[in-house]
C-alpha cells in the first residue's frame, strides 16, 4: 500500500492574538505605483510582478494598478502603494523590502498594504548581476501582501517565497507550484462540481484551525475545525465541513490521545464513541474492511456536510493532553480508498 502524506510548504500569516488567517476579503486589490527613487523600468517591473500573481488561473485574486502616483508609501491612507524609500533615512535598518499590512483584528481581513523597496541597495530591472532585481523583490513582497510567509527550507529555494535572495537573482519572478498553491489556498478560484470520491489512499495533515475550510480539492480542504482551542482559546468546538461528494461516501471521525496511542475512539452516529485498538485500525486499513462492529459517523451520504456534532466544550471539562483528530472519507462500504485528514489540538 502506498501512503501519500501531503504537506504544504507554503505558510500563511495569522493575527498574533486570535490566530485568524489574514487575507483580503476582496478578490481584486488596486495598487498605486510610486517610482520615485527607483531605477529605470521600475514601473514595468512592478506591473509584471503584479501580473505574475494575477495570472494564476486557479485563483480568483487579481492585482490591478491605478497608475503612477506620488502618494507617500508609509501612511495609512486607504491606498495600497508600491514605492521606493531610503531606509537609512527612515530609521529602518537592514531590510531590502518591507510590507506594512493593515488588518482588522476581529476578522484578520486586510484592508491596506504598502510595499517599499530600499534604495540604499543597488537596484536594477535589467537583470544586472550586481544589483537586486526589482521585479523579484516585488514578486516576493506581493506574496507577503497576499499574506504568504517566507519559506526557510533549502528544498524551497526555487520558490518566490524562499527566504534568501541574492544580487542578480531573478528566479523569484516566476512562481513555483507551491507559490501557486499558496495563492490558490487563500483565494481559490470559482469552482463548480463535486469532491471526487477517493481512488487511492491519501493522507493530509494540517495544524489546528478554528473553522474548517471546504474545497473541491482534498489536498486544499481542512474539513475539521476545532474552535478557539486552535489558538489558545478555552473552548473545543468540533466543526466538520465538506463539499458535496461525487457519490455515496462513508465518513469516519476518530481521535486518540498522544499519551495513549493504542486506543482509537471512533465517533458513532449517536455521537458516542466506540473504541478500537491501533492494531485493529491498522488491519482495517490494510484489508480495506472496517473493524468488526465499526460504524461510520455518517454512512452512505453525499454531502455537503457542515456540522458542529459536539457543540462547544470547555477545556476545563476535558482531560489534559494532545488530541489527534482524524476524518476519513471513503467510498461507501469500503476502506480500500480514502481521504484521511489529520489535525490535532492541545488541552493544557
Amino acid at each position: 500500500m502506498l501512503w501519500v502524506a501531503t504537506v504544504f510548504a507554503f505558510e500563511v500569516c495569522r493575527t498574533p492574538k486570535q490566530g485568524y488567517e489574514m487575507k483580503w476579503s476582496t478578490s481584486s486589490v488596486n495598487y498605486w505605483v510610486n517610482t520615485t527613487g527607483g531605477p529605470s523600468g521600475s514601473y514595468s517591473a512592478i506591473i509584471s510582478a503584479m501580473d505574475t500573481w494575477t495570472n494564476v488561473n486557479t485563483s480568483i485574486f487579481t492585482f490591478t494598478y491605478e497608475g503612477t502616483s506620488s502618494i507617500p508609501i508609509q501612511e495609512s491612507d486607504g491606498k495600497n502603494v508600491v514605492g521606493f524609500l531610503s531606509f537609512t533615512s527612515s530609521g529602518i535598518d537592514q531590510s531590502l523590502g518591507r510590507s506594512n499590512i493593515r488588518y482588522y483584528v476581529s476578522t484578520g481581513e486586510i484592508f491596506e498594504t504598502d510595499i517599499f523597496i530600499n534604495t540604499d541597495y543597488p537596484l536594477a530591472t535589467d537583470m544586472s548581476p550586481k544589483a537586486f532585481d526589482v521585479q523579484s523583490i516585488v514578486s516576493h513582497e506581493l506574496g507577503h501582501s497576499l499574506c504568504l510567509a517566507d519559506l526557510y527550507s533549502t528544498n524551497d529555494s526555487e520558490k518566490t517565497m524562499y527566504w534568501v535572495m541574492s544580487n542578480g537573482e531573478t528566479k523569484k519572478r516566476t512562481l513555483d507550484q507551491d507559490d501557486i498553491n499558496g495563492i490558490t489556498y487563500l483565494y481559490p478560484g470559482v469552482q463548480t462540481g463535486t469532491l471526487l470520491l477517493p481512488i487511492g489512499q491519501n493522507i493530509y495533515f494540517y495544524p489546528p484551525v478554528t473553522d474548517p475550510v471546504k474545497s473541491l480539492n482534498p489536498a486544499m480542504a481542512k474539513p475539521v475545525g476545532v474552535g478557539s482551542v486552535a489558538f489558545g482559546g478555552y473552548l473545543f468546538g468540533l466543526h466538520v465541513a465538506l463539499e458535496q461528494f461525487s457519490g455515496p461516501a462513508d465518513i469516519y471521525g476518530a481521535y486518540y490521545l498522544s499519551s495513549n496511542p493504542q486506543v482509537i475512539f471512533n465517533l458513532k452516529p449517536d455521537l458516542t464513541f466506540q473504541t478500537f485498538s491501533t492494531q485493529e485500525i491498522i488491519q482495517a486499513l490494510s484489508t480495506g474492511q472496517p473493524p468488526a462492529g465499526a460504524v461510520p459517523w455518517k454512512g452512505s451520504v453525499t454531502g455537503p456536510i457542515d456540522e458542529f456534532p459536539l457543540g462547544n466544550i470547555p477545556l476545563s471539562s476535558i482531560p489534559s493532553g494532545t488530541y489527534n483528530l482524524y476524518l476519513l472519507v471513503t467510498q461507501a462500504g469500503s476502506l480500500n480508498a480514502y481521504y484521511l485528514w489529520n489535525t490535532y489540538f492541545v488541552v493544557p
Binding site: A5, D93, Q94, G97, R98, R102, S106, E141, H144, W163
Partner: protein
C-alpha cells in the same frame, strides 16, 4: 504499509509546524559579531507585558514590550527591567503587521540585541513619561531577536535574507550563543 510510521511522521510534522514561525521580509544577514558590535545592550529576559499605541502623529501603530532581565550579556549590569519598542501591533480592531518585525509575546523568553532609542527619535514616534534612555529597539529588526525554547535552544525567524544566510547563527544552544557574543572584541 506501516501505519505507525506514518502516524509518527505526522506527529513529527505537527511538532515541526507548531514550532515553526512565519516571516515576511527580505533583509541583509547579520553575523553574531555584527549584531554584537551594533548593540549597546544584549540581554536574556522574559516579556512581562506588551502594549500597543498610536504614534505621536497618529499615523501608525507601535508596540512597547516590557522585559524582565534575567542576564545582561553586554551593557549596564544594574538594569532589572527595560522596554523595547517596535513598529506594529493592535489597537482595538485595527492591526498593523510590519514585515520585518517579529512581535514580542507576553511570557516569551528571549535573547535580544538592543540599541537605545534616545538617538533614534523621529517625528512619528510617541512621547511617554518614560525617559527615552530606557527604551530600546532591536538591532537588525527581527535578526536581533532570539527566542529561547524550553530546551535552551536560541532560534530566530521573522525575516528573510539577501545573501549571507550562512553567516547567521540560528538554532544554537543559548550558552554557545552567549559565549560567541562575549568572545566578540569591540
Amino acid at each position: 504499509m506501516n501505519v505507525k510510521k506514518s502516524v509518527i511522521s505526522i506527529i513529527c510534522l505537527c511538532f515541526m509546524m507548531v514550532f515553526s514561525s512565519t516571516a515576511y521580509a527580505l533583509m541583509v544577514g547579520l553575523s553574531t559579531e555584527e549584531l554584537t558590535k551594533g548593540s549597546e545592550f544584549i540581554v536574556v529576559g522574559k516579556v512581562e507585558s506588551v502594549e500597543s499605541m498610536w504614534s505621536k502623529d497618529g499615523k501608525t501603530i507601535i508596540s512597547r514590550a516590557h522585559i524582565i532581565i534575567n542576564e545582561v550579556i553586554k551593557g549596564e549590569q544594574s538594569k532589572e527591567r527595560i522596554t523595547v519598542e517596535y513598529p506594529g501591533g493592535e489597537i482595538g480592531d485595527l492591526g498593523l503587521k510590519v514585515s520585518d518585525i517579529r512581535p514580542l509575546k507576553r511570557g516569551e523568553v528571549m535573547l535580544l540585541f538592543l540599541k537605545s532609542k534616545k538617538d533614534q527619535k523621529r517625528e512619528d514616534e510617541i512621547s511617554l513619561s518614560m525617559g527615552e534612555e530606557d527604551v530600546y529597539q532591536i538591532v537588525g529588526n527581527a535578526q536581533g531577536h532570539y527566542t529561547i525554547d524550553h530546551q535552551g535552544i536560541a532560534r530566530k525567524g521573522g525575516f528573510s535574507l539577501i545573501q549571507r544566510e550562512d553567516a547567521t547563527d540560528n538554532n544554537i544552544p543559548l550558552n554557545i550563543l552567549i559565549d560567541k557574543i562575549r568572545g566578540v572584541k569591540n
